[in-house]
């Protein structure tokens, strides 16, 4: 690619030949210099005429693997895909007409080369020629795409996260808040931006927070609890994790804080605590009631024992002497038998066994209780029938009923043994 030679006006050649020789040397040196510059430039440089014919180009083999001989004399339509060539020709026209720098980017491939992103810069050299610099910006495009994706991801993250995010400048003024912090603080973003975050916090949290965001020794502070009041007067609670930010030189650049809303948690904890206190009070009250009931029960048992003893004593002192007197009087056999039964029944009434049989869930009839008592004493069906003026079949029916009510029906359990075992009060 040729370049214009500068004029050296400060030299005074001795003669025309010497002057021409010096100019030639300068020209050659400049040409060599320009050729070196053009070879060093990583871009493809073309000189086009108005119709897009390539008049000159540099020898950039690295970029598009173009052979200069392959390019010269051809048009951009031979090198570039149709749309790109048309766009380039349009800019060639604009550059020639307006004499302004034309810049555009396009995805294209030269000849058989793989697709690349290119930046085209066009500048008019004179009224007929345009210089086109084609720069491979594929790598830059990749970085830009990554940057766009990263920014979009960051935005999505901070706008949808449940935690409040606050960025402060070194003076402690808010420079960024996400919607979650706005909701947490009950203030609009525009209200928050530029204000001092410590103004939101009560005095007890403020000092700790300010120390955390300015302490270089603690780049990652343990989260701690802060409380603040929204502009509607509502009390909010948050767990805050502040983190100071430093530049490469170690200067404080600001800070970033994450606020986790724990208001519901705090309220629930308080409710639970209140409930626990209530339960504790109730538990204490029940314990006291239990103690009182135990005392009452003990007293009742004692009264019961006393009553039993009184009854027994009365039976012994007021009933038995008369039974004994009756025994000693002249009684016929039948009367004697009735008296024996009376004495036995009286004995059994005051015994635990009969009380067990009359227990609610057994529901034995008085006749069944009498028969069960005889069975326990080892009397036979016939003897019982005679004593109670019943037929043996009736006694057997009562026996079956007793077995059923005791839950030993159709079981290999001896009724007399079973009834004797019931004398033990603990069994029922």
């Amino acid at each position: 690619m040729a370049a214009a030679a500068p004029r050296h006006t400060d030299e005074k050649p001795a003669g025309r030949t010497a002057c021409r020789g010096a100019h030639t040397r300068d020209l050659l040196a400049l040409r060599k210099h320009n050729a070196a510059v053009l070879r060093a430039i990583p871009d493809l440089i073309l000189v086009l005429d108005r119709r897009g014919r390539i008049l000159d180009c540099n020898h950039n083999q690295d970029l598009f693997e173009l052979d200069i001989d392959e390019c010269l004399g051809r048009t951009v339509e031979d090198l570039l895909p149709g749309q790109t060539a048309a766009r380039l020709l349009d800019h060639v026209r604009r550059a020639l007409e307006s004499d302004t720098l034309q810049v555009f980017e396009n995805r294209c491939s030269l000849l058989h080369y793989r697709q690349r992103h290119c930046e085209f810069r066009l500048v008019a050299m004179d009224e007929r020629q345009v210089m086109v610099i084609i720069r491979d910006i594929t790598e830059r495009r990749k970085v830009e795409t990554a940057l766009r994706v990263g920014e979009e991801r960051y935005r999505l993250l901070v706008e949808t996260m449940n935690e409040g995010l606050v960025a402060l400048n070194p003076e402690g003024r808010i420079t960024f808040v996400n919607p979650a912090f706005s909701a947490l603080s009950g203030r609009r973003r525009t209200e928050l931006l530029g204000s001092a975050v410590q103004d939101l916090l009560p005095a007890e949290s403020r000092h700790r927070y300010m120390r955390a965001i300015r302490n270089p020794a603690a780049p990652a502070t343990h989260p701690f609890r802060v409380s603040f009041t929204t502009n509607r007067g509502r009390r909010r609670h948050a767990l805050v994790s502040p983190r100071p930010l430093y530049d490469d030189a170690g200067n404080l650049r600001g800070s970033l804080s994450v606020f986790s809303d724990i208001t519901d948690l705090v309220r629930t904890t308080r409710r639970l605590q209140k409930r626990e206190d209530e339960l504790e009070n109730k538990s204490r009250h029940l314990e006291e009631s239990n103690i009182a009931l135990k005392v009452l029960l003990k007293r009742k048992l004692e009264d019961e024992d006393e009553l039993k003893n009184d009854v027994l004593q009365n039976v012994k002192e007021l009933v038995h002497p008369y039974i004994d007197k009756l025994r000693r009087s002249r009684l016929n056999a039948n009367q004697q038998a009735h008296l024996d039964t009376l004495a036995a029944n009286l004995e059994e009434i005051v015994s635990p066994f009969v009380r067990n049989l009359t227990n609610g869930y057994l529901r034995l009839t008085p006749q069944e209780i009498r028969i069960a008592n005889y069975i326990r004493q080892g009397r036979t069906t016939k003897e019982i029938a005679d004593s109670l003026n019943l037929s043996p079949r009736t006694v057997d029916a009562h026996r079956n009923s007793i077995r059923r009510k005791l839950g030993i029906n159709k079981k290999r359990v001896h009724l007399q043994t079973y009834l004797q075992s019931m004398s033990d009060e603990k069994r029922l």
Partner: protein, 126 residues
């Protein structure tokens, strides 16, 4: 000059209007001028109208740099509305500019209609 900066006294807004071929350098200069004009005045926000530019050759890196340095020129919470023409600026580029600005904490929104931008600036969008 491819841009003009003026104070809209009626709405207390600074307006930058770009015309012709848009250059990144012009955007930087215009922002500096607007910042100077806003200083000491109770300005509500900045309206950037680039709907009449002929081309928008700003790169992704330009847009990123521009918005990440915005806080040096305007106070936190200063609203900026950008009006663009889909004919010269891709909506994806406008969205990217908005994203970068919002990620920096700048209240920034892009519009294709000037009136919508004005309403956003005047009616306290939140």
């Amino acid at each position: 000059m491819p841009y003009a900066v003026r104070l809209q006294r009626k709405h207390q807004l600074i307006e930058i209007r770009f015309t012709g071929a848009f250059r990144y350098q012009d955007a930087l200069s215009a922002r500096q001028d607007a910042s100077r004009l806003a200083r000491g005045r109770n300005v509500r926000g900045l309206l950037v109208d680039q709907s009449e530019v002929e081309s928008f050759p700003g790169t992704t890196a330009n847009m990123f740099d521009f918005h990440t340095s915005h806080d040096s020129f305007f106070p936190p919470g200063f609203h900026t509305a950008l009006v663009y023409s889909p004919a010269t600026t891709r909506p994806a580029d406008a969205r990217f500019a908005e994203t970068v600005a919002l990620n920096q904490g700048i209240p920034f929104a892009t519009f294709t209609f000037r009136q919508a931008a004005l309403e956003w600036l005047l009616n306290d969008p939140e």
